[in-house]
């Protein structure tokens, strides 16, 4: 049970305070409700590039990192298709430094041409390091546009291509900031060795004066249900073949999400999972095999992946993956097996309470989902799933005409 206090400033900034006096540290986590799904299709990768620019100096503070490091703090950030999340950990005695830094960059950035110039280069190198110069590194660049035809999830957070990043202009940066980086579009969680009254006072002092800004109303094209088999084969400089099968699945806020996530656990979580045991250990068809979900806010992706062992054809590999999921469609999962994955989910959530930063990030994310307290009730949603629901969701999910198959063939 993660306890918290919650208040909203007049400008719309939502603030959550979580006291944890077992640590001498504090965390400040700010989630901005903007991700790569909010980008212009002709300027993809922008939300992530923008995240880099948030460290390039703000209107009153030329250097973001230095003053924080000077008080013993550390920070980082990440961008996903749905959100951009910034976080600081620092000794709690120096909490105000975090408020000073974060409020100034929410107020306004410096918009330095020089910073843009450098970060374009840095992000292009990130693109190469993580997506192009790695075996299978481009998988999401290829698979997303197969699964999504209309919804902006069709591009990865890094962007469709390097050109989109290379072409970013300072005017675009300014417009993006104005549209998305304002108090009513943000959720701040302050946690650790802090007091609610102290946080309230600091929030009022540093964030209170920031203008509310304009309200961004999201209106994204939703992805229609898939009714066709999609398939692509690439021959690439990879050492072994690889099979990816992606299926459209319910979004993070749907009731069905919980059953679908447990399906991925039944299939591949841990060494007792079905696919690991049957396909890697017993039949020895794969050297590794995985099933996982992208818990996106809009329609998500369920992915089956496996690297076939030497001598196993692509056809055999694909057939084996489908055979495994077919069992879930026809036979109810035994109660013990369902209990096993539910227990694992429960203990994972208890373990995550050992980390202050994890708690802060989760509170912010669940507040975005609608209510930070959903975090505390989440386990009930998983425990309530029945074998009949698993079977029902498996039948909706595992249809050939809901699948996008991407095959890597070793050159």
């Amino acid at each position: 049970m993660v306890k918290f206090n919650r208040f909203t400033l007049d400008n719309g900034l939502r603030v959550i305070v979580h006291e944890d006096n077992t640590t001498p540290m504090a965390v400040v986590n700010i989630l901005y409700d903007v991700g790569s799904r909010d980008e212009n299709p002709e300027q993809t990768g922008f939300a992530h590039l923008f995240e880099h620019l948030m460290f390039g100096g703000s209107v009153n503070i030329p250097n973001y990192d230095g003053p924080l490091q000077k008080v013993g703090g550390e920070n980082n950030a990440f961008t996903s298709n749905d959100i951009t999340n910034y976080y600081i950990t620092l000794p709690s005695a120096n909490l105000e430094t975090a408020f000073w830094l974060e409020s100034d960059r929410m107020l306004n950035l410096a918009f330095s041409e020089e910073s843009l110039e450098v970060q374009r280069k840095v992000v292009i190198e990130e693109f190469k390091q993580r997506y192009l110069n790695q075996p299978y590194g481009d998988v999401w660049l290829r698979l997303r546009p197969m699964v999504y035809k209309k919804h902006p999830y069709l591009w990865d957070t890094i962007g469709k291509n390097i050109e989109h990043i290379a072409d970013a202009k300072i005017e675009d940066v300014k417009a993006f900031f104005k549209k998305h980086y304002n108090p009513q579009n943000a959720i701040m969680v302050v946690g650790g060795d802090v007091k609610p009254e102290q946080v309230k006072e600091l929030a009022q002092k540093w964030f209170g004066p920031i203008p509310a800004g304009e309200k961004y109303t999201r209106n994204l094209p939703q992805e229609p249900q898939q009714h066709e088999v999609r398939r692509e084969i690439v021959t690439a400089k990879v050492p072994v073949n690889d099979v990816y099968i992606a299926l459209q699945m319910p979004g993070r806020r749907e009731d069905e999400f919980y059953a679908v996530e447990l399906i991925s656990d039944i299939l591949s979580r841990g060494n007792s999972s079905r696919m690991y045991r049957n396909l890697v250990k017993d039949k020895q068809l794969f050297s590794e095999v995985h099933a996982y979900v992208f818990g996106s806010l809009d329609k998500g992706m369920f992915v089956l992946e496996g690297k076939p062992t030497e001598g196993v054809t692509i056809e055999q590999a694909e057939a084996a993956l489908w055979e495994e999921v077919e069992i879930l469609k026809t036979q109810e999962v035994p109660a013990d097996e369902l209990t096993k994955v539910q227990n694992k989910t429960e203990s994972t959530m208890i373990f995550s309470e050992m980390s202050l930063l994890d708690k802060a990030m989760n509170l912010a994310y669940y507040e975005l989902l609608g209510d930070a307290n959903l975090f505390n009730n989440e386990i009930e949603n998983f425990l309530a799933v029945t074998p009949a629901q698993i079977k029902e969701e498996a039948n909706k999910l595992f249809r050939k005409d809901n699948s996008s198959t991407l095959i890597y063939l070793a050159e």
Binding site: V59, G72, V122, R277, V280, E288, K340
Partner: protein
Amino acid sequence: MIQTERNNMIDRKLAPEFRAIENINLLRPKKKTLANGTEIFCFNSGDQELVRIEWIFNNLRFDPAKPLLNMAVNTMLTDGTGSLTAAEIADKIDFYGAFLSVDYGFEQSLVTLYSLTRHLDKTLPVVKDILTDSIFPQKELETFIRNQQQKLQVSLQKNDVVARRTFNKALYGDTIYGLTADVETYNTLQHDDLLAHYKQMYQPSNCTIIIAGKIEQNALDLLAGTFENGWESQSAAADITQPKVNHAAEHFYFVEKPEALQSAIRMGLPFINREHPDFPAVQVLNTVLGGYFGSRLMNNIREDKGYTYGIGSGITSYKQGGALFIATEVRADVCKAATIEIEKEISLLKIELIPDDELELVRNYMLGSLLGSLENVFSHADKFKNLYFSGLDYAYYDRYTQIVKTVTGDELLKLANRYLNFEEFYKVIVGKY
């Protein structure tokens, strides 16, 4: 009204006052020695009803003819015992929501159990079984070999992996640290070798147990009882000495990848380890060079030139010696320019005093980072492991914080000249140069 206006007139250009970190409190363990010689260190703290238990074994002496044994034995511990198949082990652990992992390191191999306290009576016997009765079934061994070979093939396509392997081989040669098994090496693994290695290494006299979490007396009794009874050391003690490290004569290695978009660079030199009195001070030097986001290497090569997504330096400390290294992946056409800049930054440390404001920032950053690394009771146990297996005690961290607070620019300049000798640097490039 006037009051409100005055409140709003904050000076945003002015940083709030801050306090330097005065002292860092580390939790110390309670120790218990079992009749069979195993030592248990116990860290009791936290609110969650869970524990982490680690069984730590020193690796056996490295045999260049059989370089994979320490790793293979550790990795295959969950693959079957006299009474449980691999599948049954996995079932038991997963059903109780526990996590069981095996981790091979250069010095020690670990078995780690994360378990809800209320399920320890079910999960501990499984660990006991794998530590006392593993059998390394032939079929599992064949699967292990095949899957490891395929994973290695994938890793070898990554420039940073190849650079790290080449670097370690040059610095540490035919020792456990320099180990560079290739795909064929896996075929030399034999069941009988694994079993013999297991029997010598995984015995109580070579085991240290560290338990951390919210620990009630009955949990501790259960742990002690499970591992005290029916687990005896053999007459032959584990040979945990390691051969001496010899560095390669050749200092430059270029592995060409004509189609590389980026080149991996790894350079560095043999270095002092944690036991050396200068170690805390050279960690300050390393932090200035490449040990944090605001480091000189990051500022120059990422934030000024935009050559890379990231660059950093670090110090590895092993029993038989350490290394200071710099690692990055840079745009292929600026690889040479990047190495020149790296060398420039190292030279600067040897000829110019680190400015006071930079040194103050680094001091505070390092102390904040140490404080922040103590997130929960597990991190306190980790700090203890660093000390214990280096043969140090808690005075080390007192000295560390004292030196980080007080080391002067002059001293760092001298240390840079003593330890950063260019003629000793090894340089590895994978990609284009």
